[in-house]
């Protein structure tokens, strides 16, 4: 299904979004790497759901939001965007910092969303490990650590196969800068979030890669136990990017969960 590109507005900020599919709306929030466009897993999921994949303010081709200081600001923005775009009560799926954002949104306004999918979300401080410091390392080092094995990633060449153009480098830098604005301190987590997660009784699916070297899989356990109605699925031979690393398996998990099959 061919997606269309839209410009959405909320709070005086215009954001770029990919929209496609049919069925109930599914809002998809991307991670620190930015909006990677219409990916294979979205194609599969959009058979039954209308995927709305906006680019966060301050990222990619979306408007600036230099006043934002934390993921809670981004969460409020996306709650507003749900209203502004007329999405009703969408399912919500977020990856990495987008997952953290989704968790904050659910905690702020559980009635505003239907089902919740958190994919390797940051947001909680691991008890044993550490969330990898993405700003302390080069984008190159980070890319190599992000996935379990580049050779098994079907869309690797399409996503990373050619050296980035100057324009793409500028966007990558902008994405990093906005991520720093939102997540610098406390680094990649909200010490108070766990207190609010018990409010979220929405059915929730937490997905993690067993070999996630960015956000330890123990955080998946933390989310699962803090959310009253959540289950955790850990994918083997998978790193921090399940939707990209295992698009078919990931799409199947999401479809089954949203459809209430599992």
């Amino acid at each position: 299904m061919r997606p269309r590109e839209e410009r959405l507005r909320a709070g005086g900020i215009e954001v770029q979004a990919w929209v496609g599919g049919r069925g109930a709306p599914l809002l998809v929030l991307h991670g620190a790497g930015g909006n990677r466009g219409w990916r294979r897993w979205m194609d599969l999921v959009s058979e039954r759901y209308t995927v709305w994949a906006p680019t966060h303010p301050g990222f990619g081709g979306s408007g600036d939001a230099e006043w934002m200081e934390g993921i809670d600001d981004l969460a409020r923005f996306h709650l507003w965007l749900i209203d502004a775009a007329g999405l009703g009560r969408p399912h919500l799926l977020g990856h990495s910092i987008g997952g953290w954002t989704a968790a904050e949104m659910a905690a702020m306004s559980p009635g505003a969303i239907d089902r919740l999918v958190l994919v390797a979300p940051t947001g909680l401080k691991p008890e044993k490990g550490e969330i990898f410091d993405i700003f302390y390392h080069s984008p190159q080092e980070l890319r190599d650590l992000t996935v379990h094995d580049p050779k098994t990633v079907p869309e690797w060449d399409e996503l990373f196969g050619t050296p980035p153009t100057p324009a793409e480098l500028q966007i990558a830098e902008r994405n990093r800068e906005m991520t720093a604005r939102l997540t610098w301190k406390p680094y990649m987590h909200n010490p108070r979030l766990a207190r609010f997660l018990p409010r979220v009784s929405n059915p929730a699916l937490v997905v993690w890669g067993r070999d996630d070297r960015i956000v330890p899989v123990e955080c998946g356990e933390q989310y699962r136990s803090a959310l009253p109605n959540a289950r955790l699925t850990v994918l083997e031979r998978c790193g921090h990017l399940p939707p990209i690393e295992q698009p078919e398996a990931f799409a199947r998990l999401v479809l089954d969960f949203l459809g209430g099959v599992a």
């Binding site: 700003f135 302390y136 080069s138 500028q170 830098e173 991520t179 720093a180 604005r181 301190k185």
Partner: protein, 376 residues
């Protein structure tokens, strides 16, 4: 032209091959290589050298501050200023400077600088710096706020010094409801403010608008001229006239009784240019710390990193000046003619440059070079 003596108070008391095992001497080189006894001895030595520089007639003593690095264990510029306020008597105390973006309490900063000014009889020149990225990491301060915090911290310090308290400050990064410092600088309205520059055109414009003394550090002459041009633009915007007193420049320098001895001593500066600046770009210039314009200028400003230059090249480009007193005087005069600066800051010590060599260099500068420079 006025001369300033500067030591980074380095701690080069470890085997170089150990330092080479880590991605950088900053942040990553483990502090188990920190030698407490030698550090204690170093402070005694470095302070003595500063005190001697005051006695021989240096116009000023420059003090800086860095963290988490053996290249500079002067971890508190204001502490050093307090010591030198008591142990020196005539030279200006050039703090270059306090790292504003990582400071959480500008009111305390304003008080401490005022205290140093009072204790020194009004000798403080108060430099404010944005710091290198390493300091952002050390303080865990968000680099995207570096410039905003620099400016707001500066504004609050200035207000502390120039407007009667009590007052309230509700800014973006700083919030104080009852500001009324009972410690104000001796110099009125406040100590002169100095700003260093390496690559940021915005900083040069900002300093020019305010008439602050602006000092590029270790950049090629043509880059310094370009930065001064930005400074002049800023000054012109507000109708200020720029004089040599507004402009300075920093180089490394050492003198000795013979050219051979001076060149041997000057070789120690290569450590400062190379190994101490080695490290990932993410550590020295973390995301968002520089504007895009600043990033582009930085690329141009350092077409070749100092680390990639040989000792001979560093000498040829005047990053280092080493020679007999007559030769260094000639070199300094060349800098003065090239840049029109009124202040020349000499990084004049490097840890493995031994104490007698350092002291002799200070002595010869005082006897022969400083008087010659005063006539320029």
């Amino acid at each position: 032209m006025k001369l300033y003596y500067f030591s980074e108070m380095p701690h080069h008391e470890y085997p170089d091959e150990e330092g080479g095992k880590y991605p950088s001497l900053r942040l990553a080189f483990p502090n188990r290589f920190f030698d407490r006894a030698k550090a204690a001895a170093n402070y005694r030595r470095y302070l003595e050298e500063y005190e001697f520089a005051d006695q021989v007639g240096y116009d000023g003593l420059m003090i800086n501050e860095h963290h988490s690095t053996p290249s500079c264990v002067n971890v508190g510029a204001n502490m050093t200023a307090a010591v030198l306020a008591r142990t020196t008597s005539r030279a200006k105390l050039l703090l270059l400077g306090n790292i504003l973006p990582i400071e959480d309490n500008p009111v305390r900063m304003a008080e401490q600088i005022a205290m140093a000014d009072l204790m020194s009889g009004g000798r403080v020149l108060s430099g404010f710096v944005r710091g290198v990225g390493v300091e952002q990491w050390w303080a865990n301060a968000n680099p995207v706020h570096n410039r905003e915090r620099f400016e707001e911290c500066h504004d609050l310090i200035l207000k502390c010094w120039t407007e009667p308290g009590p007052f309230r400050w509700e800014g973006k990064h700083y919030h104080f409801r009852h500001v009324n410092p009972w410690c104000l600088p001796l110099q009125q309205p406040h100590p002169p403010i100095w700003i260093p520059g390496t690559a940021s055109p915005e900083t040069a414009v900002w300093a020019g608008q305010r008439g602050y003394t602006y000092v590029p550090f270790l950049v090629p002459f043509d880059i310094a001229r370009e930065l001064f041009e930005h400074y002049r633009q800023g000054a012109a915007e507000v109708g200020r006239t720029v004089t040599p007193d507004n402009l300075g420049f920093l180089i490394c320098a050492v003198t000795a009784d013979t050219k051979e001895k001076a060149l041997e001593a000057g070789r120690h500066f290569v450590w400062r240019m190379g190994p101490t600046l080695r490290g990932p770009i993410e550590w020295f210039s973390p995301v968002g710390m520089r504007s895009r314009a600043g990033n582009q200028f930085a690329l141009k400003a350092r077409p070749r990193s100092l680390a990639s230059m040989s000792y001979d090249e560093l000498l040829a480009e005047h990053f280092i000046i080493a020679g007999t007193p007559d030769e260094v005087a000639e070199g300094f005069a060349l800098v003065q003619r090239a840049l029109g600066v009124g202040h020349l800051l000499l990084e004049a010590q490097e840890s493995r440059m031994d104490h007698p060599t350092t002291m002799r260099s200070i002595e010869l500068m005082g006897a022969k070079v400083i008087p010659a420079m005063a006539r320029l």
